[in-house]
Point group: C2
Chain length 408, copies 2
């Protein structure tokens, strides 16, 4: 006996920017017994998952599959497969995850150029386009939805501009995929990474990516087949091989494609989860899902405002993350602690210059629903009263209900 | 509507060297609702998982935690964190996964030295020790259980010799951890990687690793804190930074350790699965579990032999993988196909020089049980008769039952 009991997790209301609550159908799908990785029943599921990912990414790209790892595994897979040592990479930074892109690009040997704007703002698209023209990078890497600041960077003009200037665009859409428009083809984005544990409401541990022929052509110049499985016609020496085996997209393609060349052992249960999560997204409908995210955001922010609190009420607000200014004199962490301990509700703090200044409430995926929004508002009000904050009492839920009633 | 149905996977008897069947308790654990990554209820589970991993690795190492990815993610995390460009790495190769170690080390910039022996054999330990003395590498990287050939390399003398020569030993114990002895401390191994989807019988998607202070001291010289979460006293520039952010063990330590510095979002459901899988391993007892693997191997091989088939009956046989010579004139893939289609049983082929020459039957973890062994023997006999193979009929099950009856 080792003294550990079976898992017994408390049931939480998770209102953070991820990981968020998972639809019970997805949780159930993970209990499906294991299939071998080359079992036809399993490879069919892999293909179906690719098909559904294309729909969610709104793309006709052949390549749309998950990386077996958390979101940043997806980002690293794309970056280390695309970036060769010495390549110029331009990264506009407007929050923590812009810094992460820099870190990852740096480790791939990139020559990095950054522009930064204040946390809480985004760039004018023209500013980025001008910088692209000036720097003439091989790659522009940029975050779409910056959860650390609750901001969303418009990309519809940046993508086409990059295409015209023959710059590859890599977009971190971890926070936004499945919760708001991410139009890969229409915006002419070359490689896009989504997150599982955010608006797709699948557990963390898989990172859906997609990329087009422009990226594929580049991969082909770095392609290398593993010695243990290579055949005579496969090249095993290339000039700038990808620095990672696990994240080598040219090898992953051969595993996800018709060649089905053995690479890793696909994460069976997570694939089940992703497949079921995507199925639920498409069953709801993308348009309807995005509208639902907007509705609950509207209700939440109406409640926050009615309480007399301030939030990031800006044009470029990320619809699924609301950043609330912690009132003067209130200990933000103490409020979060009480929410968790008394109500079983989790909301988030933030990073860097915003740490201690804002709370972040997520309304993502399965967590983004009426009872959760109403519960978090009522709990926040009660906890703030308990902390002696000067807020408007009794108005938040009324304002939120007004939004819901107007919608019906 | 997108036209995809809920998951409906056929129920298979999986007798491959992984991924194998998963205990229903583990499958059920994955249906546990999500917790936030810094929820005290979740960080406690992370700590419990580390504690159980130490027991399974038979080590007192502080660091024992999973990498969020499949087994080769664990190998790459250790290798790319330890190997600096230009480092000498010695890799003895006796099958496919030795080649994989080479691939990964190469991509980390290592100067690689290999020695090879015929697939189907292992090295005399002294031969490796002599080579270590000759090459004087920084790292010796070696596979413990080579599933591609069904061989197990003894390590009990190699570890201490490396320690004495101040060489770091990295061991791929993906196939063996949880199924036979992997004595990390007693054998003086510096870093060891296990697999989830093999003898631990947890779905693919997590790679447990452990490493000691020797490795930790090296990591410290390459340590780098992410800009988005760094504080003033953290160094952000180092000489030979680790080339991967995702696999940077020095950052992962800060996430798994008391500092709990944000890195990736831990894969919640997979962590539940690993925790439950380890709990079941320890509940059974390591000794008892290893004995069970030996028993079913004995029964399987008795049946194989009674059928008149040849298998890798060698001293260095991997207890959980039996490699059967495909009889002359028999199409190995056709046999496997019929086993799958008629019986729902999956067995494996092999790679490289052994492809088409052997079948591999795994007896790992939850798949390693009496009814599975008896079923695979009876099915294999029937399918071989169907293929016109000249075998002894009616003896296999009797021989296997004899083993079981003698055991009680």
């Amino acid at each position: 006996m080792n003294g550990f009991d079976e898992i017994s997790a408390p049931l939480r209301t998770i209102m953070t920017p991820g990981p968020v609550e998972v639809d019970p159908r997805v949780l159930r799908a993970m209990s499906t017994p294991i299939l071998g990785q080359f079992d036809p029943a399993f490879t069919q599921m892999m293909n179906e998952t690719m098909d559904m990912l294309r729909q969610v990414f709104q793309t006709k790209n052949q390549w749309a599959f998950p990386i077996d790892g958390t979101s940043r595994a997806g980002i690293e897979a794309v970056m280390c497969s695309v970036i060769e040592p010495g390549d110029k990479v331009l990264i506009p930074i407007f929050g923590r995850f812009g810094h992460l892109l820099t870190e990852i690009a740096e480790r791939s040997g990139a020559e990095i150029y950054t522009i930064e704007c204040e946390w809480g703002k985004v760039f004018d698209q023209q500013e980025i386009i001008d910088e692209v023209k000036k720097v003439q990078p091989k790659v522009l890497a940029i975050v779409h939805g910056e959860t650390s600041t609750g901001c969303m960077q418009p990309l519809d003009k940046i993508g086409p501009a990059c295409r015209e200037l023959d710059v590859l665009s890599i977009v971190d859409a971890v926070a936004t995929l499945g919760g708001t428009e991410v139009k890969v083809d229409e915006w002419q984005l070359d490689a896009v990474i989504g997150g599982s544990q955010k608006c797709l409401s699948v557990p963390s541990g898989m990172a859906p990516i997609t990329y087009n022929e422009r990226v594929e052509r580049l991969l082909f110049t770095r392609k290398k087949v593993e010695r243990g499985v290579a055949q005579a016609h496969d090249q095993v020496k290339v000039n700038h091989p990808i620095r990672s085996n696990y994240f080598d997209l040219s090898q992953l393609q051969d595993y996800w494609g018709p060649r089905r060349l053995n690479h890793h052992t696909e994460a069976t249960s997570m694939l089940y989860a992703l497949r079921e999560g995507l199925r639920i997204v498409l069953q709801e409908g993308l348009k309807e899902r995005f509208e639902r995210h907007r509705l609950h955001e509207k209700s939440l922010t109406a409640g926050i405002q009615a309480m007399g609190l301030q939030y990031n009420d800006v044009l470029w607000k990320l619809p699924m993350v609301t950043c609330i200014t912690i009132p003067a004199g209130i200990d933000g962490d103490s409020v979060r602690k009480m929410l968790l301990e008394q109500f079983g509700i989790e909301i988030a703090s933030s990073f860097g210059p915003l740490h201690g200044k804002i709370w972040r409430i997520g309304t993502m995926g399965y967590s983004c629903r009426k009872e959760n929004v109403l519960f978090v508002l009522s709990a926040l009000e009660a906890v703030l009263i308990r902390h002696g904050a000067s807020i408007q009492i009794g108005h938040a839920l009324q304002a939120a209900l007004n939004v819901y009633e107007a919608y019906v």
